[in-house]
């Protein structure tokens, strides 16, 4: 095999390999897909964050408007403090409310932002005052069972 053919094939090989790497990075790994330079940071306090994880999406009206940046525990109020990074091009009223939601029964956990009616906008360092905790499925089932148990005797007495 002479030198020219080898060079050509190695060139094709290296190019193909780099192309595959690029494909994996950009098409599959979504690198640079949502590179948002300008962010502002607000926090929200929840009694229970359920299965919320770092980098979980923050959505308003179903549209991605930011991501969860940090989660820590406040040892004085015994609450979870969640740092949210929101994209600067989206502004929200100061009295907006946050709630932890799940998409579908087994889907990902995200934070839903519900805009309020205040004229002032949220800025870096603000706290979202209205925050609704995650719905814990076990607790919900427990409440449902408890409700059923307490209403069962009443229902049977009516039928008699």
């Amino acid at each position: 095999m002479d030198r020219k053919t080898i060079d050509l094939w190695v060139g094709i090989f290296v190019l193909l390999g780099l192309l595959a790497l690029g494909l994996l990075a950009f098409k599959v790994g979504n690198l640079g897909g949502e590179r948002e330079a300008k962010l502002y940071r607000v926090e929200a306090r929840f009694d229970n964050i359920g299965g919320l994880k770092l980098k979980a999406p923050v959505k308003s009206a179903g549209v991605l408007v930011g991501r969860v940046k940090g989660i820590h525990f406040d040892n004085i109020k015994f609450q979870a403090v969640v740092d949210l990074e929101l994209y600067e091009r989206y502004e929200f009223p100061k009295d907006s409310s946050a709630s932890i939601l799940t998409s579908g029964l087994l889907g990902e956990v995200y934070i839903g932002l519900e805009p309020g009616g205040d004229d002032k906008k949220l800025v870096t360092g603000d706290r979202i005052k209205l925050a609704q905790s995650a719905v814990v499925l076990e607790r919900l089932i427990g409440q449902f069972m408890l409700g059923k148990a307490s209403e069962a005797p009443a229902a049977s007495s009516v039928t008699k």
């Binding site: 095999m1 060079d7 094939w9 290296v14 390999g17 790497l21 990075a25 790994g29 979504n30 087994l106």
Partner: protein, 260 residues
Amino acid sequence: MISLLSKIGGRTIDSVWRIGSIMRFFMLVLANSGTSFSRFGLVRREIFFSGVMSLIIILVSGLFIGMVLGLQGFETLQKYGAEETMGVLVALSLLREMGPVVTALLFASRAGSAITAEIGLMKATEQLKAMDMMAVNPIARVVAPRLWAGIISMPLLAALFSAMGIFGGYLIAVLMVGIDSGVFWSNMEAAVSFRYDVLNGFVKSVVFGVAVSVIATFEGYDCTPTAEGVSAATTRTVVSSALTVLLLDLILTAFMLRGL
């Protein structure tokens, strides 16, 4: 009893010696790598023989493995009504594990064994000694280009393998099962992260490339210069490359999943 103990002790000392010599050999080759870069044509030639010639087997097995992952994944995901996440399953298993590991195993048996046999035969026919006599350093002239060619080729081959596998999974998902192609890609993009999946897989493939190339060149350089010696060295290359790759994979995965 005593003889058993001393047998175990002897084996342990031998294997520690061997690991030590492999590491010293690796350092020696690194120290003699200058020629490989000042005369890059040498490396390019070896990339042709170990990288380009492995393309067909890598691409075809990548396609097949991707398709099999798609079929098997569909079978299980269907039970939970989650067949839309098939793209995620295929992409993550390929990028994180199958891509680097299977490529390294194929590379060890396709290119590693050839490198060992080549260097071993050069040693058996005293070509290496002849080079030494002519004041040509055989490590710099013969071993280093092959090592660097392996290190360069492996990540590229692994990336091609993963890309081909994802394409295979796509074929099964969209053409055979009938999942919407937009759903397939968007689920994949949402679940695969560049830092934790693509980059970690790339790091793995580089590490495996170094391991397989070092073992292949060492076994060739170290072999007994007879016909049986070369054949035993070739076998050892494939076996110990496979074991090393799988062990390294376990260690790397343990560290990567803990986010280090």
